[in-house]
């Protein structure tokens, strides 16, 4: 039973991690809590559903198209709602993010209606038995897709020029531009990648739970943000760790009979971690400068 819950938790956690990566990358560079990120995830899920139901595409085409759609959306969102506020206070940008989030939610509701939309089965769900554990094919696909995406991301930020520029910009914004790095382009790129990962998460979740809904991004986004902070916001491995940690902890919490406190589990964990490690598990300590 315990092992089973671990697998369930890992599946959920890898999805949280994919969303959390977007939060953490954006925060790393421009210190913005992109509260509309959960909505990008939701729109990614809808894009996936639309590809499957209206255009009859399979899993790979759907997830790719969803990622592309959200890349564009993420870049546009940054241009319209965040760039004009880059020199303003964090709270101003935060309010703009909340406004954008309300806008996207309601736009989707207007288009698709408020009720959840079913996500047709694109993959024949088989169940594999590994010892006492049952793993479904969908779970495996989620785990594998997340792992591949995270590996690709890791490759990009480690070895590709623009990825390195992202890291440089997140360590020292001004100096990065002194290197000849076009910061605006790096920020757009960051939004594009983060949004693509969120879209992938949306499609995977839709496939796993067979449903997508206009309000699905709200809690998922908030939890993923928790995961990012838990792991140490700004840190990419932190977001992965935080997401998985949160997913497993939440599943375990439910299994232990705390399901009515489910939404509180993530936050309780977060608070406990922050009290002992104020910048998250893999975050760097802040030096008090005098």
């Amino acid at each position: 039973m315990f092992e089973q819950q671990i697998i369930n938790g890992l599946t959920l956690g890898s999805v949280y991690a994919l969303i959390a990566l977007g939060y953490t990358m954006v925060y790393g560079i421009i210190q913005l809590i992109n509260f509309a990120h959960g909505e990008i995830y939701m729109i990614g899920a809808f894009a996936g559903v639309t590809m499957v139901t209206m255009l009859g595409q399979g899993f790979f085409v759907s997830i790719t198209v969803a990622m592309l759609v959200c890349m564009v959306l993420g870049v546009v969102l940054e241009r319209v709602a965040y760039r004009p506020l880059r020199k303003s206070t964090r709270l101003a940008a935060l309010i703009s993010a909340i406004g954008a989030s309300i806008f996207l939610q309601n736009a989707m509701m207007l288009w698709k209606g408020p009720q959840p939309v079913g996500f047709p089965q694109v993959i024949n769900d088989a169940i594999y038995h590994i010892g006492p554990i049952e793993v479904s094919k969908v779970q495996l696909i989620i785990l594998a897709t997340s792992a591949i995406l995270m590996a690709v991301l890791n490759y990009i930020i480690k070895y590709v020029k623009i990825g390195k520029a992202m890291r440089a910009a997140s360590q020292d914004y001004d100096t990065a531009s002194l290197m000849g790095i076009n910061i605006n382009r790096v920020i757009s790129f960051t939004f594009a990648i983060g949004s693509a990962l969120a879209a992938a998460a949306g499609v995977l979740v839709g496939m796993y739970f067979n449903s997508v809904a206009p309000l699905m991004g709200v809690m998922a986004g908030l939890k993923a943000f928790c995961a990012a902070v838990l792991g140490g916001i700004g840190s990419i491995p932190g977001a992965m760790l935080g997401g998985i940690f949160l997913g497993v902890a939440e599943t375990m919490g439910i299994a232990a009979g705390f399901s009515t406190y489910k939404d509180a589990i993530a936050f309780t964990l977060l608070i406990i971690v922050l009290l002992f490690k104020p910048t998250g598990l893999l975050g760097k300590p802040i030096q008090r400068k005098v």
């Binding site: 209606g113 009720q115 739970f209 449903s211 439910i254 299994a255």
Partner: protein, 404 residues
């Protein structure tokens, strides 16, 4: 520069305020004028959500109301007047629910309100309707303290036309035990859903009374998508069936997980499960799932009024069948119309007396008797079952259980 922008801000605010006042003065979008007690039309306000978490119920209720109004108007109206539906969205927010109720009554001067489809906002609007002497019929609220107050006083202006769970659950449980042979059940409750919490309480009482054993008692939450943990813990208890008191989204997903884990039992639940979304979510896993409700859109079994209603709706909506909220919204308007006709008045103080007298009133969602405690006694209870039909999955009537 600075002064200029402050000025700009102030001007913007003034403009906004003007628009507000203008809008307030002009009334809602569907009203033509705000003259007090407009003699030309009978206004019926729609209290419900078209955005936010409860939008689904609101939108369908509104559709039923409009259909009823159109039919009445085509037939020459009620006591010589046309019916006009005034709509206002409250975005599924409690505080806005109160505001909208006030707006309907004060700005739009409605004669009656239909709504809200949920208990919470109905409870918020009820004292407002009562104080202002406007009839309110909720086409969906099933919780306590709607037609009466917490201290037991009956409200004179507030009614509802739903099948109450307290009325429906005992016969349904009896049917499960006697006809289907369920002796052990698992109960699943959505803890952040007041409907589910209330329904679970009723089911547990009825199950105890009928001598059915509850072998697992699991909690979920609305918005959850992952139920593997709960199903994993139900499995070893081997129940004969699952009583699921939550809504369709979670219900469908829950059954999917049940099948995924290889459990071959069915679930039964209230009208919270009644939507196509159930199989959109659950796929084949929900085949055999049962839902009881006060209305079944089964054209093959329906007759009379109900049959006509289903057909009309279907024609107007590309073959889609009406659901319970559409039917109850429709019935609510029809009840108001009949009461007004009987009283020959559209004055709520007068025609509310006629509502109290309803006995075996034939609506499209069943017969309604308003009891002395103002609660509706609706008969029959339909027990529906998800089954494969000609156009894929659909709800089929499994049993019609009369209520005494």
């Amino acid at each position: 520069m600075k002064k200029k922008s402050i000025l700009l801000a102030i001007v913007t605010i003034l403009a906004l305020t003007l628009v507000t006042v203008g809008c307030g003065g002009g009334g809602g979008e569907d009203t033509t004028s705000t003259d007090s007690n407009d003699e030309a039309a009978i206004k019926i306000g729609f209290l419900g959500a078209t955005t936010g978490g409860h939008a689904y119920y609101g939108i369908n209720t509104l559709a039923g109301m409009k259909m009823a109004a159109d039919e009445l108007n085509e037939a020459g109206g009620v006591i010589g007047k046309q019916i006009e539906i005034v709509e206002a969205d409250h975005g599924s927010k409690l505080s806005e629910g109160a505001t909208v109720a006030q707006k309907l009554i004060q700005r739009d001067k409605v004669n009656a309100i239909v709504g809200d489809p949920t208990t919470g906002i109905t409870k918020i609007a009820a004292p407002i309707a009562e104080d202002n002497q406007v009839v309110q019929i909720s086409a969906g609220a099933v919780g306590d303290y709607v037609v009466n107050t917490e201290d037991g006083k009956l409200r004179e202006f507030v009614y509802r036309n739903t099948l109450l769970n307290a009325v429906a659950v005992p016969p349904v449980v009896k049917y499960l035990k006697d006809e289907l042979g369920w002796n052990k059940v698992a109960v699943v409750t959505s803890m952040n859903n007041d409907y589910s919490v209330g329904l679970t309480k009723l089911f547990k009482e009825a199950l105890n009374d009928a001598g059915v054993e509850i072998v697992a008692d699991e909690s979920i939450q609305d918005g959850d998508q992952n139920f593997s943990a709960q199903v994993t813990s139900i499995k070893p208890n081997n129940p004969d069936g699952i009583v699921f008191t939550g809504y369709y989204t979670e219900g469908g997903l829950f059954m999917k997980e049940v099948r995924k884990q290889g459990l071959d039992i069915d679930m039964v639940g209230g009208d919270g499960l009644l939507a196509e979304t159930l199989w959109e979510m659950g796929g084949e896993a929900v085949n055999g799932s049962m839902v009881y409700c006060g209305f079944a859109a089964d054209p093959t079994m329906a007759e009379g009024k109900t049959k006509a209603f289903i057909e009309n709706y279907s024609t107007a909506n590309d073959g889609a069948l009406p659901d319970m909220f559409v039917a109850q919204g429709y019935d609510a308007v029809m009840m108001l119309a009949d009461a007004m006709k009987a009283a020959e008045s559209d004055d709520p103080v007068v025609f509310k007396e006629e509502i109290k007298k309803f006995e075996d009133w034939q609506g499209v969602s069943g017969t309604i008797t308003i009891r002395d405690d103002h609660e509706p006694l609706k008969s029959p209870v339909y027990l529906l079952e998800v089954a494969e039909g000609d156009n894929g999955q659909q709800f089929k009537v499994k049993a019609v259980i009369p209520v005494k």
